[in-house]
Symmetry: C2
Subunit: 256 residues, 2 copies
C-alpha cells in the first residue's frame, strides 16, 4: 500500500520509549498520527470513558506527522484518533511497543491490545507490539527489523476480517532471536497475592500483586515460542463465543 495513514497509540503513555521506537519505524511507511494517553494506562484492557469528558491536545504537526496527547484509555485514544484527529479510518493501527509481556492470558488485561482490538472492531488492520521487559529502560535495539517486516507483511497482505495481531518480542539481544513464529494464545494465569498494609489512620489497604503461572507447554503456543527465543505472533479476534460449548448447553432443561 502506497503512503498509508497510520494511527499509533500505546498504554504506557505519550513519553514511553516503546512508543517513540514504534513511531520512528511507522514513519518509514507512511503518514503517521499519534494519539496516546497522558500517562500510564497498563491493565486498562478494553475500558472506555463515558462518565467523564475527555481532553485532547496537539503536541506536534507537519505534513506527514501529527502527535496528540489525550486523557482516557487506549481504546478512547483510538476512538478520538479516528473521529476527531483523522476524521476517517486509518489504513493501519499500531499499538505499543508495550513495556511488558502481552502473551498468553495477559492479552485480556492489556491496554495495548485493547487499542488494537478496538481498531479491529472498526475493520482496520491493527498490530499490538510488546517486549518482555517491564522497565522503562527496556532495550529496543534488537527489534527494528522484526517490527518492520511484520508491518510490511501486514500492509502487503492485509489481515482477515476482524482479526489483528498480538506480537511479543523476547527481551534478548539481536543475535539470540531465532526468528518469528505464528502461534496460538497459551493457557496461563496470574496467581494473585494482595500486599496488605495499614495506613496512618489504622485502616487496611491492599496492593494487587501476583506471579504469572504459565501452565502451557504446547509447542504452538506463544509462551513456548518466547521461552525458546522466538518472536510470537498470535492472530486474535473478538468473538468470545465458546462455539464448542453451544450444543451441550442447548440440551439443558430451561422450562420455568
Amino acid at each position: 500500500m502506497a503512503d498509508p495513514t497510520i494511527l499509533v497509540t500505546n498504554d504506557d503513555g505519550i513519553h514511553a520509549p516503546g512508543l517513540r521506537k514504534l513511531i520512528s519505524i511507522a514513519r518509514e511507511f507512511g503518514r503517521v498520527a499519534v494519539v496516546a494517553p497522558d500517562g500510564p494506562r497498563s491493565g486498562m484492557s478494553h475500558a472506555i470513558t463515558s462518565g467523564t469528558p475527555l481532553r485532547l491536545k496537539k503536541l506536534a504537526e507537519d505534513n506527514d506527522y501529527s502527535e496528540y496527547v489525550c486523557t482516557g484509555t487506549p481504546v478512547d485514544a483510538i476512538k478520538m484518533g479516528e473521529q476527531i484527529v483523522l476524521k476517517k479510518r486509518p489504513d493501519l493501527v499500531l499499538s505499543g511497543i508495550n513495556h511488558g509481556s502481552n502473551a498468553s492470558v495477559n492479552i485480556i488485561y492489556s491496554g495495548t491490545m485493547g487499542a488494537a482490538l478496538e481498531a479491529c472492531i472498526d475493520g482496520i488492520p491493527a498490530i499490538g507490539f510488546s517486549i518482555l521487559d517491564y522497565s522503562s529502560g527496556a532495550d529496543f535495539s534488537a527489534v527494528d527489523d522484526y517490527v518492520r517486516i511484520i508491518i510490511r507483511n501486514t500492509l502487503e497482505h492485509g489481515l482477515p476480517e476482524h482479526t489483528c495481531l498480538n506480537v511479543n518480542i523476547p527481551a534478548i539481544n539481536r543475535e539470540a532471536i531465532r526468528g518469528i513464529k505464528v502461534c496460538k494464545q497459551a493457557k496461563g494465569k496470574w496467581e494473585e497475592e494482595f500486599d496488605v498494609r495499614i495506613d496512618p489512620h489504622n485502616h487496611h489497604y491492599y496492593w494487587l500483586t501476583g506471579a504469572f503461572r504459565d501452565g502451557d507447554t504446547s509447542p504452538d503456543s506463544d509462551s513456548f515460542a518466547l521461552a525458546n527465543n522466538f518472536i510470537s505472533i498470535v492472530p486474535v479476534h473478538f468473538d468470545f463465543t465458546a462455539h464448542h460449548a453451544v450444543n451441550d448447553i442447548r440440551k439443558w432443561d430451561f422450562n420455568v
Copy 2:
C-alpha cells in the same frame, strides 16, 4: 451442588437495584458473599488496578451472608473476593444484573462480563446477567424464574472448563418473554460521535457518545434472539486466538 458458596459482584456499584435482585435470588441457593464496587464501573471491561492501592469495607455479615464494598474495578472485586474475603475459590460467581445490554460486541467493554471472565480464568463457573434497560429504574419483576433456572442448571451441570455464560434479558414483561435461547455472539459495533463542548476557559472537551449498529441478522445470534423476545445465553471463553487465520499468516515471508 448442596450449599454452594457464591460470590456476587456487578459493575453498576453496590447500590444498584440489579445487584440487589441478583443477591436475593443467589441466597436461595447457598452461602453468598458480595464484593461490589463503591460506584459505577460501566465500560471498565477487564481492567485491573495496579498503580493505586485498593480499599475493602465490610457492610454486613451473618452465618450465610457477607457483603463488602470495594474501590477498583469489577475484576478487582473478584480478586479481592477470592483472596481476601473468602480465602478460597467460590463454587459459583454471579455478576450483575447489569443495567444495559452486554449482548453482541458489548461484551468486550463490559465490566459485568469482565468479572465473570476473571472467575472463568480461575476455573470457577460464572454467569453474567444483564437486562436491556440502562435506567436505574429497570423493571426486574419478570426475571426471577429465568435467573433461577439458569443458576440451577449451572450448579447441576457445571460448565465446560474455562467457559462462562453471558446472559441477556429483554426489557419486556413476563408474559412477552418467549423462553431461553443458547446463542453465538452477534457481530455489531458502536458508531461513535464525540459531543464537543467548550469549557469556561475556552478549551475543548469531548463526551464519548454513540449509537449501536447491529449488523447481524443470523438466527443463532444473541441480538436476533433478544429482538425476538427470547433471553439469550452465549457461552464465552477467553481464547482470543483467531484459529482460522493461523495457517494463512504462517505463509508470510518473515526473513529479515
